[in-house]
């Protein structure tokens, strides 16, 4: 027998209690990892390869205010750009689906490759889409969800705009961080709306990352003091702006995390206290045999650490396996495009487990410190 063998035998002497404790640690850590993943998706949305090169241009007043089409020609002439496309958020419903979780955008199809190059599809599909004014390309995830194939009708019912779109699927793309979005012709929308002469936003792709800051300044300056002043910003800044609307949810999730951790500490601390209290007599015997306080304390610490680590492996590892193998959009009904368990989140869970091991052995440590052999021998089994 070795000392570690002794510790393991002790930890599992009450198998049901050890199992329950490990399970509650595992489940709480699973919950914690889940919450942190969700929090992370809110805070750090995934980025495409092209994200660092893309500039989002919106009306300075608000996102809801449109931009005049004449701005396109001005931006197109600027040096250092690869392309510019209109991007108008349609915000409609697919058929009668109350929860239409994918976003629908009107854009300039011939600019897709230049601006959103990550969206990959066969060349003939792209060509077909560009050619047909009433066609649409659908993200792979959405196509999967509704069992769609090329040639299918894809009707969208307007919620913001008073028009319904009668679209046909020309292509199915994949490769972006959010393969749910669908894209159709800005021209088709304009036509149905009677050519209002406006678009929702401009999206610009810079030729290189060095060009981005200068381009942003030039775009902002170009329309300063016009009837439609713009706010140009990086894609990331634009998305963060969206996300700050979720600030309260982040606080909520953060506080649930704290409560989870706190409850976890109570559970493991009480398990360890019980484990030690019922063993005071044995611990006294060990002391009589010559074991010192710090050795006994090390046994207890190792035991509570062991329980916490097994819980971590089950809960944290389980979450890691689950979220890395399942489709996030299917799992969350389309709310999140990805659910990534980052090394940082696993690190946090490990830190919590470690802290748990230490904190839950504090009370037992105190009993051991005060334990007198003679007193301990008098306690009944």
């Amino acid at each position: 027998m070795t000392v570690s063998g002794f510790i393991i035998k002790n930890a599992f002497r009450n198998k049901r209690r050890a199992a329950l404790c490990v399970l509650s640690v595992a489940m709480s850590l699973f919950l914690l990892v889940t919450l942190l993943v969700v929090l992370n998706e809110f805070t750090n949305p995934p980025e495409d390869a092209g994200a660092s090169l893309r500039i989002a241009v919106r009306n300075k007043v608000s996102l809801a205010n449109p931009l005049p089409v004449r701005q396109r020609a001005v931006i197109e002439k600027m040096a250092g750009i690869d392309g510019v496309t209109a991007l108008t958020f349609f915000g409609g419903k697919y058929k009668n689906d109350e929860n239409t979780f994918f976003a629908q955008f009107a854009m300039d199809p011939e600019k897709l490759t230049a601006v959103f190059g990550e969206a990959k599809m066969p060349a003939d599909q792209l060509a077909a889409w560009i050619k047909d004014r009433t066609s649409v390309i659908v993200g792979y995830d959405t196509a999967q969800r509704y069992q769609l194939k090329i040639g299918d009708k894809f009707p969208l019912v307007g919620q913001i705009y008073p028009v319904d779109l009668d679209l046909t699927i020309a292509g199915i793309y994949r490769g972006t961080t959010d393969d749910r979005n669908v894209f159709f012709h800005q021209k088709y929308l304009d036509e149905l709306l009677g050519d209002p002469g406006t678009v929702g936003m401009w999206w610009v792709k810079a030729r290189s990352a060095e060009e981005v800051p200068g381009l942003i300044d030039r775009i902002n300056a170009a329309f300063a003091n016009t009837s439609a002043e713009v706010l140009a910003e990086t894609e990331r800044a634009f998305q963060m702006g969206f996300i700050s609307m979720w600030a309260n949810i982040k606080i909520l999730i953060g506080s649930i995390c704290s409560v989870v951790v706190f409850a976890l500490v109570l559970v493991t601390a009480s398990t360890m206290s019980m484990a030690v209290r019922e063993r005071l007599r044995e611990l006294s015997v060990l002391k009589a045999l010559g074991f010192r306080r710090h050795e006994l304390f090390a046994f207890i610490l190792a035991e509570s650490f062991g329980l916490a680590v097994v819980g971590l492996l089950l809960g944290g590892g389980g979450a890691w396996l689950l979220y890395n193998s399942l489709s996030a959009s299917a799992l969350t009904g389309g709310l999140f495009a990805t659910l990534t368990v980052t090394p940082r989140i696993l690190g946090t869970a490990a830190l919590v487990a470690t802290g748990l091991g230490v904190v839950s052995s504090l009370a037992p440590a105190w009993s051991i410190m005060r334990l007198s052999v003679v007193e301990g021998l008098k306690t009944l089994d």
Binding site: M1, T2, V3, F6, K9, N10, R13, R281, E282, V285, L286, K287, A288, L289, G290, F291, R292, R293, S372, V373, V374, L377, D381
Partner: protein
């Protein structure tokens, strides 16, 4: 008087327990010498201070005043961790209620004190096997305490007490929970330890028949020695 130099010298030993406002004098100015190799039995009515005296000699309790010198060391002067080492090397304990660790096999229970030594696994195995042979339990090494009879459990406890080869073996009513047959086995082993292995055995007992196994018997009454 024994010829050999005393292994234990108790001088003017007093132990007072404080229970709230009341002081309980468990031992009052005890003087006692025990020679190496003696099998001393400690008798007396319940509450007379037998266990307290044994605890102090064995270094798990401390005197209120007076000295307890074992093998020429004043054990009252040792600090906690020196005392722990000293116990590990010099004292073997046998308790009334056996006090084996329920999740460990007989072998592992006996091996426990050796985990504190520098011995290799092989040496530990040899010593544990020898100790278990000595108490006649070589065939029960893998058994858990609950798979053993009371008498066997107590013999495992004796093996655990002597596995480190200590000079002193203390036993507090070791036969108190045993039937007379098992008690005789246990007492026989303790007698052999003192007679053949020259161990000093101090045993607390109520039972005059048990005391008859010893080489000398002393009586405590209300914390004082009476002879």
């Amino acid at each position: 008087m024994p010829v050999a130099a005393p292994i234990v010298q108790v001088r003017e030993l007093t132990k007072v327990f404080r229970q709230g406002e009341i002081n309980v004098t468990a031992l009052h100015r005890i003087n006692l010498e025990i020679a190496a190799g003696e099998f001393l039995t400690l008798m007396g009515p319940s509450g007379s201070g037998k266990s307290t005296l044994l605890h102090i000699i064995a270094g798990i309790d401390r005197p209120t005043s007076g000295d307890c010198i074992v093998q020429e060391r004043n054990i009252g002067a040792l600090n906690e961790s020196e005392l722990a080492d000293w116990r590990n090397q010099n004292v073997g304990f046998v308790f009334q209620t056996f006090n084996l660790i329920p999740v460990l096999s007989a072998f592992e229970n006996v091996e426990l004190p050796l985990l504190l030594t520098q011995l290799s696994a092989r040496d530990r195995r040899r010593q544990v096997t020898t100790a278990l042979e000595l108490v006649g339990l070589s065939d029960r090494m893998k058994h858990l305490p609950r798979q053993l009879s009371g008498g066997q459990e107590q013999r495992v406890a004796i093996a655990r007490a002597l596995v480190t080869d200590p000079q002193l073996i203390v036993a507090d009513e070791p036969t108190g929970n045993l039937d007379s047959h098992s008690a005789a086995d246990v007492l026989d082993i303790l007698r052999r330890l003192s007679r053949d292995a020259r161990k000093t055995v101090i045993m607390v007992t109520h039972d005059p028949k048990a005391a008859a196994y010893g080489t000398r018997s002393i009586h405590l009454e209300k914390g004082e020695l009476t002879n």
